[in-house]
């Protein structure tokens, strides 16, 4: 019997052959923490008298969540992280460098790696065909020091997507559609594996959106086979040599298989306060929106900014709808600057913030007022997420967000593309 992607990658990192359902000690290639979880990880290593990194070149401490620091307590946390990096030789990714998941993808991750990160959206690395999963501070701290962790080898839910997405429909709409179908705990404890002709033809930067949101269905990771599209993307980052093709076996054993017809997917909006509370654009449009946010590890990439800029070019945001744009990394910020995208956003009346998580974590840069509604390219719309339990968050693609910024109400991007 054949192996799933999860079993294949994990078998390369264990001493014994393992199958879904078994517990194993797994060698870890890459570790990440961020400024919300890193300080606790550092303190746990101090408690264990293990202030070291087994693989410092591939251990990255990110300062992206509350960056630049909005408060002295957080500035002190940032100091602790910088000091740990100096002591251990681990890499530091400081304020303005970008969101951890984007930067780890751009500069560190290779197909076949095992990545553990103290952030739930670490699963985005699955688009690189790396077994990437989010854990807590202590688990990641131990992985940093010992270069290993324990895992239950997950069963896999295979999602086959066939056909072409229609114009104005993006990977974001597809994943919201899938989560609406399988629900927010439909893949708990399991790996998702995305495949089929839609995925074969999908550019790498769009695949990253699918893997990013795997955790929103409860999944441990969201894997995609590495192929020519992966290679092209790695080459675009100057890392073509890091490529290796990995595919699941044809006779791999899946817990279940979900079939999706891409042509039937419309632009989708997830309504408060659950990611699986989805509506198609026809049922969503017309809802008044106070703030639009385009950015994050989910949808703050150059191609997302291009789509939004094409819609906003030469136009102004609706006077009652604020617009916040945050490129996901310094590299993307620089490219957007060079291409004139930031000028388009600025002229449209956007507030442009330095690369990082921006208002997604509810700590700064766009906290909602009581009763306010935000349409966002984020991955999560839980109550209180944007710093106020009295706020309402809705999720959509960059195109839907840009169209909405112009209209002041949720709008169909297909009418302005």
């Amino acid at each position: 019997m054949g192996l799933t992607l999860a079993e294949k990658i994990l078998n390369e990192h264990t001493d014994e052959n393992v199958r879904a359902g078994e517990l194993a000690i797994v060698r870890v290639d890459v570790c990440l923490t961020q400024d919300g979880t890193g300080p606790l990880a550092v303190r746990q290593l101090e408690k264990l008298d293990m202030v070291k990194a087994a693989n410092p070149e591939r251990t990255v401490l990110f300062i992206d969540h509350a960056a630049p620091s909005p408060r002295k307590e957080l500035a002190n946390d940032h100091m602790l992280l910088r000091e740990f990096a100096k002591k251990t030789g681990a890499k530091l990714s400081d304020i303005g460098d970008g969101v951890c998941h984007q930067v780890i993808h751009e500069s560190h991750l290779k197909p076949g790696d095992v990545l553990v990160g103290a952030d739930s959206h670490t699963c985005m690395g699955g688009a690189m065909c790396a077994f990437s999963t989010g854990m807590g501070s202590t688990d990641v701290a131990v992985a940093i020091a010992l270069g290993k962790t324990w895992l239950k080898i997950p069963e896999t839910v295979r999602v086959n997507i066939e056909g072409e997405l229609s114009n104005g429909v993006y990977a974001k709409d597809l994943i919201l559609h899938i989560i609406g179908l399988i629900t927010a705990d439909g893949a708990t404890y399991k790996a998702l594996e995305f495949g089929g002709s839609t995925i074969d033809n999908m550019p790498h930067y769009e695949r990253m959106v699918l893997s990013n949101m795997a955790v929103e269905a409860g999944a441990k990771t969201g894997l995609i086979a590495s192929d020519d599209k992966t290679k092209e993307w790695l080459e675009s980052q100057g890392r073509g040599d890091d490529f290796r093709a990995i595919a699941p076996d044809a006779d791999a054993v899946y817990e279940r298989v979900v079939e999706i017809d891409a042509a039937t997917v419309a632009p989708i909006v997830a309504f408060p306060h659950r990611v699986d509370n989805v509506k198609t654009i026809d049922d969503a449009k017309g809802e008044k929106i106070d703030q639009v946010f385009i950015g994050t590890c989910t949808n703050g990439r150059l191609e997302d900014l291009r789509v939004a800029a094409a819609i906003l070019k030469g136009k102004k945001r609706h006077p009652d709808t604020r617009l916040i744009v945050v490129p996901a990394s310094r590299k993307i910020y620089g490219q957007a600057l060079e291409e004139g995208l930031l000028t388009i956003f600025n002229d449209a009346g956007a507030s442009i913030n330095s690369s990082g998580c921006g208002p997604c974590v509810g700590v700064h840069q766009g906290i909602l007022g009581d009763g306010e509604k935000c349409l966002s390219t984020m991955n999560r719309n839980f109550q209180g997420r944007m710093g106020n339990t009295e706020g309402f968050i809705m999720l959509a693609s960059p195109a839907t967000c840009a169209a909405t910024a112009l209209a002041g109400v949720i709008a169909d991007p297909r009418e302005v593309l």
Binding site: G36, L40, W150, T188, V215
Partner: protein, 168 residues
């Protein structure tokens, strides 16, 4: 050894944003202070009124969302005996064991606010003393049981020097 306390009822989909909200991000390095706000966005009375030994009773998908270990940590600091829910999100479940907080998966639908509960982890039973019925639950898988019995992952490593995957 049993753990006894009152039930506090929470619904389905209690996210880590409701347990340890992002607006209190600056308190994450001051866990006793953060614990004064535990679950306050789900039940504003809980943090001030919870008694040592009480139980947090959830519905399905308890702890979904962020990987922040601070969420189960402050529930543990508040003196909660265990979180009991119909189902848990994966990262929260693993984090709870790592910080020494028992997490029990069973059907919570017959438990009501204020019910007196008695948990016997070793026996795998949760007795509702008020309503006189007993729920049973299966033991944790291998290494998780060892880590919880050791008092969390830090203590597990201090005791064994490494992961002890086969310890009983």
């Amino acid at each position: 050894m049993t753990r006894n306390g009152k039930a506090w009822i929470f619904g389905d989909n209690i996210s880590t944003d409701l347990i340890a909200p992002g607006r209190l991000f600056h308190l994450r390095s001051n866990l006793p202070e953060l614990a004064k706000h535990v679950l306050e966005d789900a039940d504003p009375e809980f943090a001030s009124k919870v008694q040592k030994g009480d139980f947090v009773i959830g519905g399905s998908n308890f702890g979904l969302g962020s990987s922040r270990e601070h969420a189960p940590t402050i529930i543990e600091i508040a003196g909660v005996s265990a979180v009991v829910a119909k189902s848990f999100a994966r990262i929260f479940y693993r984090n709870s064991i790592n910080v020494g907080l028992p997490v029990i998966q069973c059907d919570t639908s017959e438990i009501e606010a204020g019910d007196e509960l008695e948990l016997d982890l070793a026996a795998g039973t949760l007795k509702n003393v008020t309503k006189d019925f007993t729920l049973t639950f299966p033991p944790l898988p291998g290494i998780m049981r060892t880590i919880l019995n050791d008092g969390g992952l830090v203590k597990h490593l201090q005791k064994h020097g490494d992961f002890n995957i086969n310890a009983e």
